[in-house]
Amino acid sequence: SSAAMAALRGRALLAPLAARLRAGPRAPLCSAASAPPLYDVVVSGGGMVGSAMAAVLGHDIHFHDKKIALLEAGPRKEYDHMPDSYSNRVSSISPGSATLLSSCGAWDHICSLRLKPFRRMQVWDACSEAMIVFEKDDLDDMGYIVENDVIMSALTKQLDAVADRVEVFYRSKAVGYTWPLPSHSCDTSPWVQVELADGRRLQTKLLIGADGHNSVVRKEAEIKNIEHQYDQSAVVATLHLAEATDNNVAWQRFLPTGPIALLPLSDTASSLVWSTSHDHASELLAMDEESFVDSINSAFWSNINHSDFIDTAGAMFRSAISLLRPSGTAVRQLPPSVAKVDPESRAMFPLGMGHATEYVQHRVALIGDAAHRVHPLAGQGVNLGFGDIACLAHHLSAAAFNGNDLGSLKHLLKFETERQRHNVSLIAATDVLKRLYSTTLAPLVLLRTWGLQATNALPPVKVRI
């Protein structure tokens, strides 16, 4: 091959070779008889994203005669019945994610358990009155708030339905991976070797890492990860509203310390996601229930962060807009007030961002938080993961129907390019928003105020978001 073509593919050549140059056991020469069981795909990590990946492949028509394994370190959870109280870990599911879950039959289960559609999102700034409202012109839902346990219950059921193709290994933590050499120099096994904590071994043609933001697959593959711990933690809780309401709006207010969000669960209950400093988060967890509820209501209603200057400047901009675009400002709704918090439902976890420089290598692909980690302010986290699944499953399905080697970099790179193109801009934008809104400095507040008002008035921009 000419040097030019070698350079184009250099990335593909160097990555797996580089991994092999470092210390690491070489895959042993095995006769077929004594070799560990060989799978077409092994998914490492049985959370929402890993389970969905296995379920989607298991339901793919071109995978009917393939063998898939899902490795989950924890025990199998039985979801025979949902408790009456809501779980404090919820996700905002986009319509695209709902379509993916529908394709493997999980969405029907979710609908029959419980979920809350919302039609509208109101986002506003505590330092001014700048607001942006997202809503769909047609009567479709914008998204759904679903408890993570509900999603897992539905996925577990759908995995059971394809048990002849998908083997789920519970209490099976993968402790080591051995990478193959690129296939042309092979007198050793060309497959990825997986070693489990109990000593069992598996081989696979493709390893999919869905093992979260501290991904072991990513670390063992020596893929560089750009990461940053935010100086924030998220406080979650299940809240009961002061009075029953339609509750089909998702609310988010940007406070200087971080955004506070109220996500509807039912007509009387909402889920709280409050991103704030570590200290404040600890205080919120420690205080009694009444004070906690007061803090939440105050965060949504108080004008303490306004300054006259900003208010005036904001008001002027708003009248300017209404002259140019009379319909450009939406009606401001008022968020519901909170009466009670579910005892035991308060929890906190630290926030960070992360992005893997590569999503794929020879016989390896990363999806979900293993590839990218975002701030919850955009409500995108798990949707990015589901988007990864839709894209990877599409390429793997085509590869299977063409009789290709599933671990071949050729189609894995297509997945990487498509997803990085989509994810990087969103992750960067989320990061910028997080930083932009973490300040009370007037110029930056004005900037984001006017920016938000302008964005709110411009339909084309809003639709793209």
């Binding site: 091959s1 000419s2 073509m5 070698a6 184009l8 593919r9 593909a12 050549l13 077929a32 060989l38 028509i61 071109h62 995978f63 009917h64 005669d65 690129p182 296939s183 042309h184 092979c186 007198d187 096994s189 060309p190 497959w191 043609k205 299977a400 129907f401 063409n402 009789g403 290709n404 080697d405 071949s408 970099l409 050729k410």
Partner: protein, 287 residues
Amino acid sequence: QLSLFRFTVKRPFSTSHSSVDSKEIKKFQLLAHKWWDEEGEYAALHSMNDIRVPFIRDTLLSMSSNYDLGNPLSGIKILDVGCGGGLLSEPLGRLGASVTGIDPVEDNIRTADQHKSFDPVLAKRIQYKSSSLEEIVEQSVETFDVIVASEVVEHVADLETFIKCCSQVLKPEGSLFITTINRTQLSYVLGILVAEKIMGIVPEGTHEWEKFVPPEELERLLESNGFSVKSVKGMLYNPLSGSWSWVESTGLNYAVHAVRSGARAQSHATDSPLQTDRQQHSAGTAG
């Protein structure tokens, strides 16, 4: 000079009635271990799978009554002639076919055997033999549902013998898939000069322009040996993207699908003097 070539070229004189050319064997022996490097000397053949596998798969699916999209070629017996390192045999095996791959170069068969050995499903579905087509004819009369001869006919010594043998080992109504290179000024410039000498897309010396086969000649030989040609499609390689696509023109590379007629193969005597001349011409040089 090149245009003279076109009208007066003769196929190289061969002393045997075999379709195997010993010079060709030597060329491929040197590269036996390079087959499976997807970015090496055989990169263009690897990426040709992206169009030739769907072509074979979809043609066979459209001809069969039961559709199992999970195992599209299940139950089909395929002979891969000139299988090399198994680049085409393996995807066909993964799609469910029982594949017999033959190649006269022993090193190629060794590479192919070794490569499939790690996958128990493929190891069962694919059998490789170091052999020429003629050598298996006797034990394999009307054995195969499909023959694929991809990038092979431009290397054989006697094309008509090759086609006759294909007809003998194919079941009646069986399919023959051929991909090869046309013999045109364009294929000399792009196929030899650029591909081999300038860009190194194909290892140098792989092809001899005189042995390239125009689609008209291939069609004629097929039709007069009991085959019905169903489709002829042009193929084009883009060296920048490293990918193949279907095109209108058969001036460079092309693919053919032919079906063996239901009756036992018979040569058709043709009436036109032009055809008779050509038959005499090739009879004189086939040796």
